[in-house]
Each structure stands twice: as C-alpha cells, then as structure tokens.
C-alpha cells in the first residue's frame, strides 16, 4: 500500500502505476466536471480504459463556480445523518489525498436569532450522531476568533474547510491523465449510436476542428453532465428527470473571516460565508431554468445575497462587489425511475426547491429506458466527488460482471499542474 502511495506521488512519468494491468473494458464519460474527473481516475486505477468528453474547458460547468466549502456534513446532519456521515468521511479523506488545495480551518455555525439559538441542541445532537466532532463555543470566543461577525448569540465549531474549487477536480484529472485516461475537452457530445437495446458509441464534435464528428465506441457510457444531464438524456431517448436550477453567489474583496460561517438552522438561501484567498463569498439562492448554459445572477439575487451577508457581517454591503456569478444545480424530480441497486445511499424523492436531497443517485438506463451499457450519475456535492466515483465505478463493474476494487482513498493525488504539463495529449 505505502509503496504505491509513493508511486502516484512520484510524478512525472514514467511511473509503475501506468503499466497497470488493463481489464480490456473501455468506459466513456460525458462531462468534464469534478464528477467526471473523479470517476475517470477511479476507473483508470481499476484498470479500465477511459475517455472523458467535455464540451468546453474542464470544470467549466458547475464545478469551479461553487463556494469551495469542504462540507464536514454539519449542514446536513439535522436532515439526513447518512449524507452528513459521508461528507465527514470524505472531507477527511480529501484532506489526506488532496491537502495542497484545502484550507482546513474549520467553521462556525452561528445563531443570530433566538430561534436559531433554540436549534443549537438538536443541531449538535445531529452532528454527534453523524460522527462529526461538533463543539459548542461561547460567543466571546467566537468573536475573538472571528471579530467581524455581528451579534452572535451562540455558536458551534465544526471541522468544515474550504478548497480551491478548480484545483481539487484538476488533481483528479491529473491523476487520470497520468494513468493513461484520454481526456478530451472541447469535445461536445451530440448524439449516440444505440442498437439492439445497447449503447454502442457516443457521437461527439471536436469543437476546435470546426466541429468534425467523432465516434467513440465504449463498453459502458456514463452521463456525468450535471445540470445538462437531461439534454444528454434527450439525445439518447432516455428520460432523465432533472431541471437546471441556478444558484447565485457574490464575492467581496477582503478575507472577512477565516472559517466557513453558516447560520444555525436547516439549510436555506444566503446562509453561508466562505473565505477564498483574499475574498469572502456569500451564497446562495435557487431558481429553475430550461437552459444551464450562460446563466448569470439577477439583480434581485445580488441584492438578496448582500442583505443576507450583512446580517452575519455588519458593513458587508459597504464593500464593493468583486464578482457576482451563478452555477447550476441539477434539480432532480420524482419519477418512475429505478435506482441502480448497488448504490445504497441513493435517494429519489418528491422534490421541490430546497427540500431536494443533496445526495446523489445513479439512473440505470438499462432498467428504465431499455438501453444497456448506459447510466447517468446525478447530484452530490463537490466534497463527495471521490465517493460518487467509487459507487459509480462499483456499479459499472457489476453491470459488466467484473471484479474490481476502489483504491482512490489510499493514494495521494498529484498536483493539479500536472494536467497541463508535458504538452497537450
């Protein structure tokens, strides 16, 4: 184990891990966000041949635009302890394998109203029952540590962190590339070749070559296109119940806090402050749209976020806006769909806005749409990208009736820079 750990660390090539025994199967992943990157790495490490198709630059979808909160799970502990427990486990694993892009500084849940203060007991209970070491901290101490916070009544310390939303997924892409995965940004999927109830090939356009068409044959195709999943489904004639739901975020210049600050209440709009280098970010909001491309924040969202940040940090609104932007969540809806049965933590619920489960699911299109060799992975969070990849790779392995083992938790990831080194592949 330890020896291999060093091997993956020992970039650049050649590294022994690269000559790993291939199992002869080729998997094509649609979507070059964190989910696609983590899955490419996991599969390559198991010996699969992997191709990733991404229509723009890697991480140009939702990944890269989010807050960069390394969720310890406290945010979800009151609602769903399994999700919370998984977040905590994954945040610890990431701190081990991707430490160079993580500011592991912790976070405070703060109560600003009596109602929030009353929630404290249930909140701490939820955390502890999920295995998250949450601790009550008195308000004097919180204000000594984060002096810019406003009228805090009480608060709880949790092991949250922040990470570079671009670098974390790029570390997975670097690892996948070093293991021989074919990563193809600027390639847009435009159709499928489905025959005899089986996925045969993906049709993509090379956007840098005037849209030249390519046919990529694969033993299994995974749709990891996030908020775009429904559009990909339409191309395949598969019904994927997802609505793109943009959320806005806003950053001001100045690192006003060093830890993630959350309101002590069930998740709601405008309730998180996240420091990123010299910036402070407030997020987020939620609405729905038809098209996840080119989404921008509205003026109303910007005003709302400022007002919410002002509640936590008096004076926030006086600071000039550094940037305001939006990212699309894939909102799932309840349908007839069966969930891939190897995925224990998968949930599909009747969902509306924020009551949506933040967990992830695998839609098996063999079971739902009579297309063998095709599945969609939906939902999750950037924090649990490795776990999503593990479950999806397990699912693919069982669909192809082969044995394979996930090892991504054991190895240190190479630098994000590695992906761009040594020329274009």
């Amino acid at each position: 184990m330890e020896a291999l750990y060093d091997e993956l660390n020992a970039a650049p090539l050649p590294m022994p891990a690269c000559s790993m025994k291939k199992n002869g199967y080729h998997i094509c992943i649609i979507g070059g966000g964190g989910t696609g990157g983590a899955l490419a790495y996991d599969l390559a490490l198991r010996g699969f041949s992997v191709t990733v198709l991404e229509k723009g630059e890697l991480t140009s979808g939702t990944t890269g635009r989010h807050h960069g909160q390394l969720h310890c799970g406290a945010r979800y502990a009151y609602g769903d302890r399994n999700i919370a427990r998984e977040c905590f486990e994954e945040s610890v694993i990431l701190s081990r394998i991707a430490g160079s892009c993580i500011e592991y500084n912790g976070g405070f849940f703060v109560a600003l109203t009596d109602e929030e203060a009353d929630f404290e007991k249930a909140f701490i209970e939820g955390c502890l029952e999920s295995g998250i070491p949450a601790r009550k901290v008195n308000k004097e101490k919180i204000l000594a540590i984060e002096p810019r916070l406003g009228p805090v009544k009480t608060g709880v310390f949790v092991p949250d962190g922040t990470f570079d939303a671009f670098r974390l997924p790029m570390m997975f892409f670097s690892a996948a590339k070093l293991l021989g995965a074919r990563i193809m940004p600027w390639h847009e999927v435009v159709g499928f070749d489905i025959a005899n109830g089986r996925m045969q090939a993906v049709i993509a356009r090379d956007l840098l070559a005037g849209g030249r068409e390519l046919r990529i044959e694969a033993d299994y195709v995974i749709n990891a296109s996030g908020a775009w999943a429904g559009k990909i489904g339409e191309m395949a004639g598969a019904d994927i119940p997802v609505t793109p739901a943009p959320g806005a975020m806003l950053a001001v210049k100045g690192r006003l806090v060093d830890r993630v600050i959350s309101r002590m209440r069930p998740p709601s709009d405008g309730d998180i402050l996240v420091p990123q280098r010299g910036l402070t970010i407030i997020g987020s909001t939620q609405r729905v749209t038809d098209n996840p491309d080119g989404i921008l924040p509205t003026e109303a969202e910007i005003e709302f976020l400022k007002a919410k940040a002002e509640e936590m940090i008096p004076g926030f609104t006086n600071l000039p806006v550094h940037a305001a932007w939006a990212a699309a969540r894939p909102l799932a809806g309840s349908r007839k769909h069966k969930v891939g049965n190897t995925v224990e933590s998968a949930v599909i619920e009747d969902v509306e806005g924020r009551s949506l489960s933040r967990d992830f699911m695998i839609l098996d299109h063999a079971a739902n749409d009579y297309i063998e060799g095709f599945a969609t992975i939906l939902g999750g969070k950037a924090t649990v990208l490795r776990a999503m990849a593990e479950k999806t790779a397990n699912f693919i392995s069982s669909a192809l009736h082969i044995e394979s083992e996930c090892r991504t938790a054991s190895y240190s990831l190479p630098s994000w820079r590695e992906y761009f080194r040594g020329g274009r592949s």
Binding site: E57, I145, L207, L208, L296
Partner: protein, 231 residues
C-alpha cells in the same frame, strides 16, 4: 448598453455585438453570446470570480481576467480580445497553458494530513485553541497566486525565461521553507531564471492578485548579491 466585441487571432477577426448592463463582465458577455447560439466561440473559464486563473485574455491591449473586467470599465469603442501571448492558442482567446505549468514548481505549503483524529484536531485550530495557541492564531491559507499567466504574458522578456510567476513561487518557498529549498534556489539562478528578468515590473502592475512577482525577483537577486559578497 450596446457593446461590440472583436476577437482577434492570427487567423483573422470575429465581430460580435450584444446588449448588456455595464456591470456585466467580458466573460458574462461571451457567455451571453455563446448561449445565444454562437457555437464557434471558445474560451476558458471556470470560477467566474477571479479564483481559478483560467480566463486570462489580452483585453484592449492588456492581459486581464475576463471574469473581473466589467464592460463598463473599458470606455467607448469596440472591445478587442486577443489570446494571451507565450501560450499555445487553441482557438479565439482559448489557450493551452502548458508552458506556464511546465515552469511552475510544486511549492505548495498546504500539505496532506494523515487523516487521523489527531490530525483533524490539529488541522482545525479552534478545537485545541487553548492548548496550542499558535495554531489557533494562524489559519491556513492558499498562496495568492492563481497561476493565471497574466504576468508571463505581460513580461517583455523574449528569450528563454521561466517567467515571473515561477520566480515568485520559488522565492515564496525559500522564505517559507529555507531548509528545503536549496535546489529550487539553484534553479532560480540558472540563465533562464531570475537573471533573465529585465526589471520592467510589468508583471507586478498586471497581476490581479497583488502577488508582485517583480518584487520577489528583486528579492531573489538580492539573496545572491548578499551571498556573493560573502565569498
């Protein structure tokens, strides 16, 4: 407001027009144009708030981040976009930043934890705030440099040169970890290292993160001078 944007590459120019608020950024404008159906418009982007370093372009003659440049900040007239120099142009303003990353050393001071309970406690200062005050007092922070390559693009040096960002990385590392950075320091003093700098300070003026690479290069060169007189 109506804006007109021209994308200029070796292969010619493309012209776009759009209606947008002056508060929107160049990146927003490209997003509006592309989602409006312009399939041949390619550009790199990820964070949309100046954190990832992917969206650099030469805007009206100056290397800048498209996501932080507001349409209203550029005055009247056509906005001209060109790809960053010293990088491989893919199409339009989209580049492959291979040369930049080839030159950057892995000098990250944030490291992996060992994942143990003790590590979590140590990683999270306040939990042991009372016991280990210096940890509580000093939260971890990523370096300011977002590896956007604007400084490299702005640098007038045309001969072989690892560039301002790489020099800054090396200098910061030698300050933070003097004990382990001797090899790196030697790298900085090869002919294509700090000595190649012409001290124009364009890099410091252009850096969106206030890294001031020029200052780091001066400091690097000073260490050599100080050491040189000792021998």
């Amino acid at each position: 407001m109506m804006y007109s944007i021209q994308i200029k590459t070796q292969d010619g120019t493309r012209q776009y027009a759009l209606e947008a608020s002056p508060e929107r950024t160049i990146l927003d404008a490209l997003e509006i144009i592309r989602s409006g159906g312009e399939k041949n418009l390619h550009y790199r982007h990820s964070c949309h708030h100046g954190s990832c370093g992917t969206c650099g372009a030469v805007i009206n003659g100056k290397p800048r981040l498209m996501c932080l440049t507001r349409l209203g900040s550029l005055g009247a007239g056509t906005i001209v976009l060109e790809p960053l120099s010293k990088a491989e142009t893919l199409d339009g303003v989209a580049v492959f930043p291979g040369r930049l990353f080839d030159s950057l050393p892995n000098t990250d001071y944030l490291k992996n934890t060992d994942g143990s309970a003790a590590a979590i406690e140590l990683a999270v200062p306040e939990i042991r705030y009372r016991d280990i005050p210096e940890l509580g007092a000093k939260p971890k922070r990523l370096e300011d440099c977002i590896e956007c390559g604007l400084c490299t693009a702005a640098c007038p040096v045309s001969k072989d040169f690892i560039g301002p960002a790489a020099c800054a990385h090396i200098h910061i590392e030698t300050v933070k970890h003097p004990e382990t950075s001797q090899t790196l320091l030697a790298r900085a003093f090869e002919p294509d290292g700090a000595p190649a700098c012409e001290r124009a300070f364009e890099c410091s003026r252009i850096c969106p993160q206030g890294v001031a690479p020029g200052k780091h290069i001066t400091a690097l060169l000073m260490t050599r001078q100080v050491r040189g007189t000792g021998h």
